[in-house]
Symmetry: C2
């Protein structure tokens, strides 16, 4: 499994807007203790609030990796970043990138990394063993976040659930399946970069055998309702063998993101489809609650929506950013909830 | 799209059994006119019945490619084959391989191919544009073969349907998604070798916009009931946007191949699940019939089984090897069949 060396120096370069620095902000938010500081070029427009450090200062402070925390337009690595990355490698830092461009495609950087014996990690391009799924039931408990669409809170919900379980003294591990999640947890697999034949097999390895009381909290990807990504979502679901699902939803979304011809599914329909698909590898799978990104709703509208939905589905409905996920955690632990199947 | 240069010289090497020469036999069976001959080492145990040719003879006969028609144990390329492959490249033949080992990993072969300006095709490792699915409805008609499990006749059924449509004067194209299918048709994509993010997008490209009366007959892969491969099957289904499905089944199979804990689904259940999933990108998808691999049944048992199933499902039931697929072709053309949805 991909393992990253923390703590991080967050590289912000000459970033122009917070939107492009989503990765840096995500890492600074979820694992602030794993960040020694940030490195910005003159004229960078945003900051994570972490101390500004030179590479030498970061190395002296014990940084394990320089983490490219920004996404340039087009996903390519701008050439003028290269001297900084080479300097970091020479100072003994691993380089962690989520860009499309592979770090290994820059010979000077490769040479510097080899000389300094540091690693170049392309988080987007996993290098996993090529094994197909076995369907074998694994010990340990697993919860997977699934969604009515992409990009509506599956990672955030999984991280919040992990923290909440741990705060209650339960053994729990966040299992990252996307690049920001991997950078936050320091381990994981970019499941959508895996060769199709091995999606379920790699998902099986991501949450291996564990103690019976241990919860793997697995970050979901894509959506069974997305015409481009449903295959990834299904393979991840089958390989994860979840005991519990949390369905993530954004009531402000009018249709599948970017695809006006594809309507958002009804929540009961989504729950039913995920459970039906999940039963192939875990006949006992249940949906234990709904996680809502309610940012499009006023406080009053959110309260009304939450109340209506809880009555309708018979499940706890939470927004991690508005009241937290404690009702979901309780439902997960109790597991006595019955699941609404449409 | 991967395009192969026909006709082929079938390379059989020192093959020991017909099972290992499945690819060569498939190609010789489905496109005999595209085969100039076969190349066997002394002591080879089987033959496709095609004339034995040296490389020089094959080149003189106009061969476009040497096709490795056998699967050595372990899927690796035995080193003692290499001189023959180099000789073929030097004689102006492309090399077509479905092995795990990439032809490009042999520097001498790469050099010979470059010098002779011939191509090395690793059919198993596609090199497709990285595009995600759009879900956009495409003109032209499409039929996809799907299965209750892997390896029970999806390729054979698709090829037989294509021939049958063409014999009736209908414009039809076989669309290959696996290596033997690609070698037979000379084009296609190994869909299970595509990066997960792009399964549906690549499937969309495989059957592009076409005339309204044209049928793309798409070779299915895997099964929605297989815990390792369902993600591939779903992405292919969504990207193919089929108007019609043919469900392939083997009544002799007791459980999903190699996985005793996973029972074979009931046919009505399988039809319902494929239609439900297919509706995401084509709300009008129908199941027009069942293709059975009845090799485990006596003639009498097959007749009884076929009759019972047709009554039960209200659909034509055919075995391409026992009576052919004409009833399926008729159903496809008529499209007035109503579909049994459980």
């Amino acid at each position: 499994m991909l393992l990253l060396r923390k703590p991080y120096l967050l590289f912000l370069g000459d970033v122009r807007s917070a939107v492009h620095a989503k990765t840096a902000f995500g890492v600074a938010h979820w694992c602030p203790d794993d960040v020694v500081g940030e490195l910005r070029f003159d004229g960078a427009a945003v900051s994570t609030g972490k101390p500004a450090l030179s590479i030498a200062q970061a190395a002296a402070a014990g940084a394990g990796s320089l983490l490219i925390g920004i996404a340039p337009v087009g996903g390519q690595l701008p050439p003028h970043w290269l001297p900084t990355l080479i300097e970091a490698a020479q100072a003994g830092l691993d380089i962690v990138s989520g860009l499309h461009t592979r770090l290994g495609s820059f010979p000077e950087l490769v040479a510097a990394a080899a000389a300094a014996r540091v690693q170049l990690h392309d988080v987007r391009h996993g290098d996993w063993p090529r094994v197909t799924g076995s369907g074998r039931k694994r010990p340990g408990k697993r919860v997977l976040t699934v969604g009515t669409d992409c990009a509506l809170g599956k990672k955030y919900t999984a991280l919040a659930l992990t923290r909440s379980l741990q705060a209650r003294g339960m053994p729990a591990t966040f299992r990252a399946t996307g690049q920001t999640g991997i950078m936050i947890s320091g381990a994981g697999v970019a499941i959508d970069a895996v060769v199709a034949d091995f999606i379920a097999g790699v998902a099986e390895q991501l949450s291996p055998d564990n103690a019976g009381s241990h919860w793997d909290v697995i970050e979901g990807q894509g959506s069974l309702f997305h015409p481009a990504y449903a295959g990834v979502s299904l393979g991840l679901l089958h390989g994860s063998q979840p005991d519990a699902l949390v369905l993530c939803h954004d009531p402000g979304r009018q249709h599948i993101d970017g695809l006006p011809d594809f309507p958002m599914p009804a929540l009961a329909e989504a729950i039913a489809l995920y459970l039906q698909a999940g039963r192939l590898t875990n006949p006992d799978v249940r949906c234990i609650g709904i996680s809502v990104n309610s940012s499009s709703l006023s406080e009053a509208a959110w309260s009304a929506y939450q109340e209506r939905l809880e009555a309708e589905l018979g499940l706890p409905v939470a927004d991690p950013l508005r009241g937290g996920v404690e009702t979901l955690t309780t439902a997960l632990i109790n597991q006595e909830e019955t699941c609404h199947e449409s």
